[in-house]
């Protein structure tokens, strides 16, 4: 499976195709391993599902006490929850285990990954791939199914199209963040504890409207770590609301571009980190 240099776009497409098929093959291998314990998988999927749905309970308890929080109704916040949680859940399934990079570096197991003829990123991302993680997609899917017909929105074709687009670009943004945070662990071995604030913290943050937070904080999660583009900016378009930061209208459509740019940065960071890597040992 050693890749040969092929010129032009066809080469890039072949390589991408091969990466996807390798990913699927390795993921399937791990799934078959996990399938040896079917009851365990079913229970754990259920557990993952309910844990992921816990945030819904929190939102409902709060809206049981007041009809609006920071100018947003329960249905609107649930829309944000559904889009954020679905994007994050999907990215977590695809790339969540990359957060173990530091562990691999510490234990010296990264060396074993490097000698195999498959990208170490794919190997780490597919590690322990288990069907139970799909359980976390169900709560946001159910919430969106419940909420989409109920949000007070005049559904134009543009708004309808925006929903799948924001889900996809949200996933791409989180994917970039997973890889970026993993790459950081090449340099700062102990950074995993802190970068959880960006991944898990980002997922929690984007479940709520940005009108809750101080303006400087919102600027930070817009321009520094582009979490606002996961679902907030596109949601403003869908819900027909003004931007509290007063950003120009086109920023509501910028999420795909932001996702692409972030992934490019993450790819560069990952390669730089991998080149910099010197095996541990004594």
């Amino acid at each position: 499976m050693v890749s040969r240099a092929v010129d032009g776009d066809a080469g890039a497409a072949t390589r991408a195709g091969r990466a996807v098929s390798t990913y699927c093959l390795l993921a399937w291998t791990w799934i078959r391993a996990a399938a040896q314990y079917p009851v365990s998988i079913a229970l754990l999927a259920l557990g993952t599902m309910v844990t992921a749905g816990m945030d819904i309970a929190g939102i409902l308890v709060m809206f049981g006490r007041t009809p609006r929080i920071a100018g947003f109704t329960a249905v609107e916040v649930l829309f944000l929850y559904g889009t954020s949680s679905l994007s994050f859940g999907a990215s977590d399934i695809l790339l969540g285990t990359t957060e173990r990079l530091g562990e691999h570096v510490r234990n010296g197991t990264l060396d074993a990954l490097l000698v195999r003829p498959v990208s170490p990123l794919i190997q780490i991302a597919t590690e322990d791939f288990t069907p139970r993680r799909f359980g976390r997609l169900l709560p946001p899917v159910l919430v969106l199914a419940f909420v989409l017909p109920r949000v007070p929105v005049d559904w134009t074709p543009g708004r309808v199209a925006m929903v799948p687009l924001m889900l996809a670009s949200g996933m791409v943004i989180f994917a970039g963040l997973w890889v970026l945070c993993a790459a950081l662990q090449f340099v700062l071995l102990n950074s995993h504890g802190a970068t959880k604030a960006i991944t898990y913290g980002g997922s929690f943050l984007t479940q709520y409207p940005m009108t809750l937070f101080a303006r400087d904080f919102v600027r930070g999660v817009t321009f520094v770590v582009p979490l606002a583009f996961v679902n907030w900016e596109p949601a403003l378009y869908v819900l027909g609301r003004p931007d509290p930061l007063g950003l120009p209208g086109w920023t509501r459509f910028a999420s795909p571009a932001v996702g692409a740019a972030l992934c490019a940065v993450a790819a560069v960071a990952w390669r730089a980190g991998l080149r910099r890597y010197r095996s541990t040992g004594s």
């Binding site: 754990l44 557990g47 309970a57 929190g58 950074s191 504890g193 802190a194 709520y208 809750l212 937070f213």
Partner: protein, 262 residues
């Protein structure tokens, strides 16, 4: 006594061996504290005085919960679980020390270390960014007692969940269920004072409220005099009951354990 204090001391040393790693965790705790504080502020803005808390109490509560996550190990788990799975627990049982006392001592050391390394930073961040309520000397002393009882209670709960390994051979199912209970009924997701009436009453009677909600109430000076004593007694009673259950279960597990090998 004898060896027990040393177990605690070495656990404390072990858990504070990587202060940078703990500090990194504290960054995440602080971030979640900020986000939760903003959410609760908006809720209390919409409903001033909800559940007897004011906005400052709600903000302080957010950072307190983040400070307590580590010490009361709200996400559950215990090193003992791996030892039961691998069979190493046979060695533990062979020691002339009580299994429960040994692991309690270990947990106390862990809790003290995490309270210092992961508990203080979120409180500090909260105090810098928001107005938080700082306790008087008396309240701080009461909080120390309450937090200590919370650690004891947390250990009692996790020890019980871990012992189920002797029968189930896999703790992840039980772990998933206990995680849900402890997250929701401790006040970690939403403070119990904001719960609807009946659910709130039920949640307050359950042991998990003693992990976060009760110590937080004590910190905020919501419990004084007789109410303070009853709050501490509530935590102590649940801890005592669950620790006793743990003892009985340990005895049953010892009879059950079959060590393989030659």
């Amino acid at each position: 006594m004898g060896v027990i204090p040393w177990v605690s001391w070495y656990a404390l040393r072990r858990y504070s061996a990587y202060p940078l790693g703990s500090m990194a965790e504290a960054v995440t705790n602080s971030f979640f504290g900020v986000v939760r504080a903003a959410i609760l502020l908006a809720l209390w803005h919409a409903r001033p005085g909800l559940g007897g808390y004011d906005a400052t109490d709600a903000v302080t509560f957010s950072f307190l919960t983040q400070a307590l996550i580590g010490p009361v190990q709200i996400f559950g788990g215990m090193e003992l679980a791996q030892r039961i799975r691998s069979g190493d627990v046979a060695i533990d049982l062979h020691r002339p020390v009580d299994l429960q006392a040994w692991w309690l001592a270990d947990d106390v050391g862990r809790a003290v270390s995490t309270l210092l390394l992961r508990g203080l930073p979120p409180m500090l961040v909260g105090a810098l960014l928001f107005t938080v309520r700082l306790p008087s000397a008396g309240e701080a002393a009461a909080f120390t007692v309450s937090a200590a009882l919370a650690v004891l209670l947390s250990f009692a709960l996790r020890y019980l969940a871990t012992l189920s390994m002797f029968w189930l051979h896999d703790e992840r199912g039980v772990q998933a269920v206990t995680l849900l209970l402890s997250l929701f009924f401790s006040g970690m997701i939403v403070p119990l004072v904001a719960f609807p009436e009946t659910l709130g009453d039920v949640a307050r009677a359950l042991p998990w409220s003693g992990l976060v909600q009760v110590p937080a109430d004590v910190f905020l000076g919501r419990r004084t005099g007789g109410a303070l004593l009853s709050a501490l007694a509530f935590q102590a009673a649940w801890a005592a009951g669950l620790l006793t259950a743990g003892r009985l279960l340990t005895r049953a597990a010892q009879r059950r354990l079959e060590a393989q090998g030659g």
